[in-house]
């Protein structure tokens, strides 16, 4: 994990620190280990001739975390940090460059699905290696892992009726033999997301619905196949503030009702504090801090998390008298040209205060280290003896 020249033990007292390693046990629904998603940039003809090395957009650069069964795990960060790409990688909507994702399917998949025995198992509990599943065999798993999309306007085909949009999921997986059977299933799904009476909504087109109603349809679509794991990609960020809580409330109720697990992707830390159990804060493709949501946000350890939390405005009119620049320097670098060592170091205000760490921060990438039980930070500041 470390580059040549330094070993972990030289840097810190090994017995004192525990590097984060996700564990596969019965409670763990999803494990992401060392995930890398690099997008290659197209080279021009000349560059190919000159055999210049290919450049990559390192969207996700070695990310590891675990999601426990029944929890809401927030993946938070600014735009471009890789959180959405991570979510899509779990669903195998983007190609993974390296790393693995292990997933524990729902009971019904383990017991009833004919493909389940074919998947490679990586634990005694039945976790399967998602990346190892060939594309053709992956389809049945899509009933178990689903996604709620950010854009309620773009994620529904404007030329299809609500019924057709929801029924598509059923058709793809051969659920419901006749049209009237499917109508019943769709009606129930609409009722579950409180779009009642279902008959009024079934044959409308998306543009006839409000943003909030459309997002409910998105939720219904995600749930209609009865999954056990949902990746929610900024599900309320494009909705009016006054209706966000309604949608979130709905999501929480459904979670309780169906025993769902959420991977909740968001850039709104206040929202993450409100809704999630644990949080992982990402910066430029890496997790910089991971732990209990409230504690991380109320008491951030990583300099980046700190700066972020400070910069978030609050509806408090006193703040207009205070001009406090956020404690962060410069701007987000390009994910093509990631800084060496700790990728946050060019912007780190804490580094200015601890010049002795400069060499380390510039050369070595800090691992995620446990500083309290359940709390992890990737920062050399916390490895000082």
């Amino acid at each position: 994990m470390l580059h040549a020249g330094y070993t972990l033990s030289e840097v810190m007292d090994v017995s004192e620190v525990q590097v984060y390693k996700p564990v596969l046990d019965k409670q763990v629904k999803l494990v992401v280990n060392g995930l890398k998603v690099y997008f290659p940039l197209r080279r021009s003809f000349i560059e190919a001739l000159m055999m210049k090395p290919r450049l990559f957009v390192k969207a996700v650069d070695e990310v590891s975390f675990d999601v426990r069964d029944g929890e809401v795990f927030a993946l938070a960060g600014e735009s471009g940090c890789g959180k959405t790409t991570t979510g899509k990688a779990v669903l195998k909507l983007v190609e993974t460059t390296a790393g693995s994702t292990y997933y524990l399917p729902s009971r019904s998949i383990m017991e009833d699905n004919q493909y389940y025995p074919l998947y490679k198992k990586v634990s005694e509990y039945g976790h399967i290696d998602l990346q190892a599943v060939p594309d053709k065999l992956f389809k049945p798993l899509r009933r178990d892992i689903q996604m709620i999309w950010q854009d309620p306007y773009g994620s529904l085909n404007p030329r299809r009726t609500i019924f057709e949009i929801l029924s598509e999921a059923l058709e793809i997986h051969d659920v419901g033999a006749t049209k009237s059977e499917r109508e019943d299933i769709v009606a129930k799904a609409l009722e579950e997301v409180k779009l009642t009476p279902a008959s009024e909504f079934m044959y409308r087109y998306p543009h006839m619905l409000s943003g909030g109603q459309r997002q409910r349809v998105g939720i219904a679509r995600a749930l209609i196949l009865k999954p056990s794991f949902i990746v929610a990609d900024e599900p309320v960020s494009m909705l009016d503030v006054s209706i966000r809580a309604e949608i979130l409330q709905l999501m929480m109720e459904l979670k309780k009702l169906h025993g769902l697990t959420y991977l909740f992707i968001t850039h709104d830390l206040a929202l993450a504090r409100y809704i999630s159990n644990r949080i992982a804060v990402m910066y430029l493709g890496k997790i910089v801090e991971l732990g209990d949501a409230r504690r991380v946000i109320e008491n951030p350890n990583h300099p980046y998390t700190k700066a972020l939390v400070e910069a978030i405005p609050e509806p408090n009119p006193e703040r207009r008298h205070v001009i406090k620049e956020p404690s962060i320097k410069g701007e987000v670098p390009s994910p093509i040209n990631v800084p060496t060592g700790c990728r946050f170091h060019p912007r780190c205000v804490a580094l200015d205060q601890h010049p002795e760490l400069e060499e380390l921060c510039k050369k070595k990438e800090p691992p995620l280290i446990e500083i309290e039980p359940g709390r992890y930070v990737a920062c050399w500041l916390y490895t000082k003896k």
């Binding site: 503030v241 209706i243 830390l269 206040a270 504090r273 409100y274 978030i312 405005p313 509806p315």
Partner: protein
């Protein structure tokens, strides 16, 4: 306190469409003094952007200002000819930062050229003089003056937004309207932009009219706040009073629906239903279908604006006898 810088009285801006008349701004009144900043809060479809466009007289057809007056620096600008308004008021008196402003920059010209153009067109400066002024403005907004030669694609999102703010400030207008100026910006960059606005308020005494759906960023800048709903202002007053003691049920619900970063975690509330159709709004108080305190009267009569505290006004039957 002298005369208000901006006095809006019973302003109506309607869109005359084939489906009907969209009453986007329906009898709105407020005033703004020099150096004061006003926040205009509301959700999608409440008419706040239309209100901003009305003040600068850029309402797109089929919309037009259908009633009321806008008195700016003592003159009724709704009665001016387009020619006069363009010469005297637009950009000199009132300038605007549009939503998605970084897309306003022309990709084939440097930002220096684009800022300089403002001076060349409005003040007859030469290109060299214009570029000099551009450099000064860039400094003011926190961009290195040498970047006057940069093209928009060479700048980050935050820097583009600063460049656009520089353009809005070019003629030192007493009033700058900012319509969702921090959408699509990072939280950190957003904080920097808001700090810039605070500095401009302090150093230049510019009045800023900040339009947003986000009550948090309005709190960072505005001295006064007006809450808009369904084309009307439902609550209006000093920020300190409105935020700490919101009266209108809508304002309350809005404030309660924002998750807080600090402090106790309370249950968030939401407002059931959907915003009103501005062609055929509900009779009486436009909020009544979604209001937990709706009374019979609310369904029939529109509540007037009444003062409930010093300069704090509410339009709600709960506060009128």
């Amino acid at each position: 306190m002298s005369e208000p810088l901006l006095e809006v009285k019973n302003l109506k801006t309607y869109f005359y469409t084939l489906r009907g008349i969209v009453r986007a701004v329906d009898d709105v009144s407020f005033e703004l003094y020099r150096g004061e900043s006003l926040g205009l809060a509301g959700e999608s479809g409440c008419g706040k952007s239309t209100l901003a466009f009305s003040l600068i007289r850029l309402v797109p057809p089929p919309g037009k200002i259908s009633g009321g007056t806008v008195i700016f620096e003592g003159k009724d600008v709704t009665k001016m000819s387009e020619e006069e308004f363009r010469r005297e008021v637009r950009w000199r008196g009132i300038s605007m930062i549009f939503q998605g402003a970084m897309n306003v920059l022309n990709p084939v010209y440097t930002i220096g050229d684009q800022i300089a153009e403002v001076f060349m067109v409005h003040k007859g400066y030469s290109k060299r003089e214009g570029l000099e002024e551009a450099k000064k403005l860039l400094q003011l907004v926190g961009i290195e003056p040498r970047r006057v030669k940069s093209y928009p694609f060479e700048l980050s999102g935050g820097m583009k937004q600063r460049a656009v703010i520089a353009m809005a400030l070019a003629l030192s207008p007493p009033l700058v309207i900012a319509d969702e100026p921090t959408t699509a910006l990072d939280v950190v960059v957003q904080a920097q932009i808001l700090n810039l606005m605070k500095r401009l308020k302090n150093e230049l005494r510019t009045s800023i009219m900040l339009i947003s759906h986000d009550l948090s960023i309005i709190a960072e800048v505005a001295d006064k706040i007006a809450i808009m709903y369904g084309g009307k202002i439902v609550e209006y007053g000093p920020s300190d009073l409105v935020y700490n003691n919101p009266r209108h049920p809508y304002t309350r619900a809005l404030l309660n629906s924002i998750p807080r970063l600090r402090g106790e975690i309370r249950d968030l509330t939401w407002i059931p239903g959907t915003p009103p159709d501005l062609i055929a709004p509900p009779p009486g108080c436009r909020f009544h279908p979604r209001c937990p305190h709706a009374m019979e009267r609310c369904k029939k009569e529109e509540p007037p604006m009444v003062e409930v505290d010093k300069n704090h006004y509410v339009a709600c039957w709960l506060y009128t006898k």
